[in-house]
Subunit: 135 residues, 4 copies
């Protein structure tokens, strides 16, 4: 669970968090996972260049500027040989009543060799760390 505090500057002319900025929110959540949590578990290589090769997102309800951060749940939904998929849900949890889901998204990520800039396979340690994030 990553908590993203909206900024007033995230608002567009309609006073909603702009739809483009949603992807920035997902990026912040993912960076937290790959740059902070994965290295802490031994997969420093995931903190280096991991390219986004595909993104898809469904917008359900507008996000606004508010004091409470937006919770972002994320998990590895697919683990391939040379890529992996991170799925996301932005939703307020409900203590009593239904959860409010703002949107759902997925990004396909591919590690690249830093020297050559070319795609490479995930190594065993990276796979082991990513497996812990599998749904």
């Amino acid at each position: 669970m990553f908590l993203l505090k909206p900024r007033w500057s995230d608002l567009d002319a309609y006073s909603h968090v702009n739809n483009v900025t949603w992807l920035e929110y997902l990026q912040e959540a993912r960076v937290d996972m790959l740059l902070v949590h994965a290295p802490a578990r031994g997969a420093e290589s995931l903190a280096d260049a991991v390219l986004v090769v595909r993104a898809e997102i469904d917008y359900r309800r507008p996000m606004v500027f508010r004091q409470a951060p937006y919770p972002i749940e994320m998990w590895v939904s697919k683990l391939g040989a040379a890529s992996f998929t991170v799925s996301y849900e932005i939703a307020d949890s409900a203590t009593d009543g239904p959860r409010v889901v703002y949107g759902r998204a997925a990004t396909v990520l591919a590690p690249v060799d830093m020297a050559s800039g070319r795609p490479r396979r995930l190594d065993q340690l990276e796979r082991d760390v990513l497996k812990r994030f599998l749904e």
Copy 2:
């Protein structure tokens, strides 16, 4: 064809146009179509709130900071009763040799009633204008 001039501020820490910013590029292209070209043809209503309900994008090659603008082709790829899909291709055209495709994307858009904020059907004039953008 929309020409998008990259800004130095579009670069992220990897010196590439950040993947999130690609969606901003598409948004600028779409705004040009909906706020400028569609109203000029009589569909002012499309310039008001049209929500993005879904976006998907495939990244092929990195975009960098350069003097030449990036060409964005866009067209209406699907026209429904209460939504329509705009597809995009960011590519350098080749005078001789193959085209360089940076990425392809699609966004599903839904008009909303300004007063109630609720989704509404496309009216006949809007459909007529959007038909001209059909592939």
Copy 3:
């Protein structure tokens, strides 16, 4: 004291928080003061259009992406008839040793009449609320 958590997307191609983004940080701090704290004390009008008419900022040390938020102290440093100045200091407090100052800034703000868009004088309630933020 406002705590601003840096985002990875705040970094520019030099891997520093871009100098432009520093102003965004100040804006978030100011919005917190004017949209949240001032209305809570009875000056709702300060939450409406208050224009920035001047900004100045001195950059001392680069800010980077880190887990700990950057503390921003701000105070009203000048209170005029039709404008006021908010000063800022971004600095890590030191429990033992000297404080690390990243930068200092000031913005001159002027309330505008929402209907006409023209500058207007600060009223008595606004002045009373702003006085509490005087250094």
Copy 4:
């Protein structure tokens, strides 16, 4: 003269180009001068790390989203031993009638040694190139 095309995404919740984004506009103009024009004249070193150590800006009239780009004039207004000041004016030129000035600004810039990250003096070639931009 640098021509800056506004983006719809530059607008804030007040439908104006956000005051922070003005600094981004100046940055784009400056990058054009330092990364494109200065290197073309032999001062490649100015394209490397030149830090912004101070910025000040006066806002006169709001900028909005429009088709016509905003013209930004800039010039070196002060040339020191280890820093220089670039001044800017954003204004529509008037063919007949008074010019419309949106704002004026200045940024103090200091070259840094790339290896050590420490400030350094401007060398003779850099000074010669910058002199051509002196008002």
